[in-house]
């Protein structure tokens, strides 16, 4: 059975960038990335990989959906080339992530999903690397009235149902839901495969829809349920007592004695 899958993929500043590349602008209450490129949110890459595996085993048509202020076409192209069949970009100043919360984002994505047409399975990442919230997926499911399973490490479609291996703190559980359904995907699924140069070329010809705020007909301004009142740079630094000795073995011993002396152990 071939299924229609929508993968929600957000563009975020590369979370692997060094701390110095995240400038905290307290006055504007926003983080300004410095010298780091946008990437697809890593968990959304995992979600796309999960979708491609379903496509390989039982057939699927995968649409990549991304919403943002101005989306990098190169980043989208590379993701699509990994194994998607189409993409929808929802773009505009009103969609700057710093001005949206999970409720607003979920409402906008739900409107976009209605435009894509009937789908069987929506995959999201477990959380976005900028918000770290883990909310939009369950928000979408609530708006669309779909059953939802979070934290998948494996996703399969069997007989009109989705079967999910879900990560637990001490193990895993297997959960099934009838389609259509929404699943949020965790890193345990595995990394997104690299597309070949040939696939990247071919992906340029795949259908891409670009929508603006007027096409969506949803005004995000009244939809927010959470407001950021302040943004600060974190202060984590401590005063480190470096234990030094002539040999590393001696340093290890000295560290033990120091910790005993200071009653840490």
């Amino acid at each position: 059975m071939s299924v229609n899958i929508i993968v929600c993929a957000k563009q975020v500043p590369d979370p692997e960038g060094p701390p110095s590349s995240f400038e905290v602008n307290e006055a504007e209450r926003r983080v300004i990335p410095r010298g780091i490129p946008p990437v697809i949110n890593p968990f959304d890459e995992n979600a796309l990989e999960a979708a491609i595996r379903i496509k390989e085993s039982s057939g699927a048509f995968i649409t990549l959906l991304s919403l943002g202020r101005s989306l990098s076409r190169a980043v989208i192209l590379k993701a699509v080339a990994s194994g998607a069949d189409a993409s929808m970009l929802v773009e505009g100043d009103a969609f700057d992530p710093s001005g949206l919360d999970a409720s607003a984002t979920a409402s906008l994505l739900a409107a976009a999903i209605e435009k894509i047409g009937p789908c069987d399975l929506i995959l999201c990442g477990r959380q976005a690397a900028d918000t770290n919230a883990g909310l939009v997926g369950l928000g979408l499911a609530a708006i669309l009235g779909l059953p939802a399973v979070t934290l998948a490490q494996k996703v399969e479609v069997v007989d009109g149902r989705v079967r999910v291996e879900r990560v637990l703190p001490d193990g895993l559980e297997v959960v099934e839901a009838p389609l259509p359904a929404l699943v949020t995907v965790s890193g345990e699924v595995g990394d997104l495969r690299y597309p070949s140069l040939q696939a990247i070329k071919a992906a340029k010809a795949l259908p891409q829809t670009v929508l603006g705020p007027e096409d969506l007909g949803v005004d995000p301004s009244g939809l927010r349920r959470v407001e950021t009142v302040a943004l600060k740079a974190p202060s984590r630094e401590r005063n480190c007592k470096l234990v030094e000795a002539d040999t590393p073995e001696e340093a290890g011993r000295k560290l033990a004695l120091t910790l005993r002396q200071d009653k840490v152990i």
Binding site: N132, L172, R225, L255
Partner: protein, 328 residues
């Protein structure tokens, strides 16, 4: 805007049907908020056979314990848990609903918040009352910034990390435990089975000492040395992400923004560079010790004690010296 309603804590049980330590911590935090806003504190417990846990919670300072005890709530099924508590929240909407940022809290609270159209703030490292408002503090951008947020709705919901609240002293005179009737609809989600991988004798999140290894451990062998040190100190072994990805340590060991959040009295980081994603999971530890061969590794900036050196040389003598001094 005048907002009314009490503070409500959603409690969970741990091993042995006792309240989880996070839930006791939330009793302390909930009491602070209730006092700050001049309102009362309720705690809700869901499950099957949770009588003991409910009575125990009643000693930690709430004004009432609401017990939703039903055989269908034995294991967590989001559909059943959501429906069970929704009626309660609708009939008397609280000013705030707090849960732990646990597996259950992360899954259930968004479902409740979106059902009731309430603002929800997840993964809070601080919660306070200021000018009659409840403010939530949480890391964003992988811990590269801290946001102070508030809900714009009458009810605010939040999931809170371990060790943010302080467990209140238990009282000899418990409050009333009130049973609440539970509705049980047919769930859409079907739980087919569970597999427990980790030995939860000393769960990472509750261990007083955590000894973690990073990419520089180079393989599984290094982790057996970490286990030896951890057991000597009565602690648990953790890891950064690369060892988990490489299969040197089980996934259940990962510490960080996408792993477990720990706040032990002592955190020992061996061959870990100190990425923001890792620090987000452990920077609230009491004391942090780093062993790393790179003197410029960022982990030293956020540690209290450090040794610059190869762990293969430093660790054995460290462990041996601790063992010797333990005997005295």
């Amino acid at each position: 805007m005048e907002r009314s309603g009490k503070i409500m804590v959603l409690a969970e049980t741990a091993k042995g049907d006792r309240p989880a330590s996070i839930s006791l911590e939330l009793m302390g935090l909930g009491r602070e908020l209730a006092d700050g806003l001049g309102t009362s504190l309720s705690v809700v417990i869901l499950g099957s056979g949770v009588g003991d846990a409910a009575r125990e919670l009643a000693r930690y300072g709430p004004d009432e314990v609401l017990s939703l005890d039903h055989p269908s709530l034995g294991a967590y099924n989001p559909d059943l848990y959501k429906e069970a508590i929704l009626g309660l929240l609708k009939s008397s909407p609280p000013r705030a609903l707090l849960a732990g940022h646990t597996s259950l809290g992360q899954d259930l609270l968004p479902r409740l918040a979106f059902s009731l159209d309430c603002g929800l703030v997840t993964d809070c490292v601080g919660v306070k009352v200021e000018g009659g408002e409840i403010l939530f503090i949480r890391p964003v951008f992988g811990g590269n910034a801290l946001a102070v947020q508030k809900a714009t709705t009458d009810t605010a919901m939040a999931t809170v990390r371990a060790r943010v609240g302080e467990v209140p002293a238990p009282s000899a005179t418990p409050c009333e435990v009130r049973p609440v009737e539970v509705e049980t609809p047919a769930p859409r989600l079907e739980i087919k089975g569970r597999e427990i991988i980790e030995d939860r004798e000393c769960p990472l999140e509750e261990a007083p000492v955590v000894v973690s290894g990073g990419r520089g451990m180079g393989g599984e062998e290094g982790f057996s040395q970490l286990r030896e040190l951890a057991s000597l100190l009565g602690g648990a072994v953790g890891a950064s992400r690369p060892p988990v990805d490489s299969g040197w340590a089980p996934t259940t060991c990962q510490v960080g923004i996408t792993g477990k959040v720990v706040a032990p009295d002592l955190y020992i980081a061996v061959a870990i560079s100190g990425s923001t994603q890792h620090l987000s999971g452990m920077s609230e530890a009491g004391k942090i010790v780093a062993i790393n061969k790179d003197p410029d590794a960022y982990i030293f900036k956020v540690s209290d004690y450090g040794v610059v050196g190869d762990w293969k040389q430093v660790l054995p003598s460290f462990t041996a010296a601790l063992r010797e001094t333990a005997r005295d």
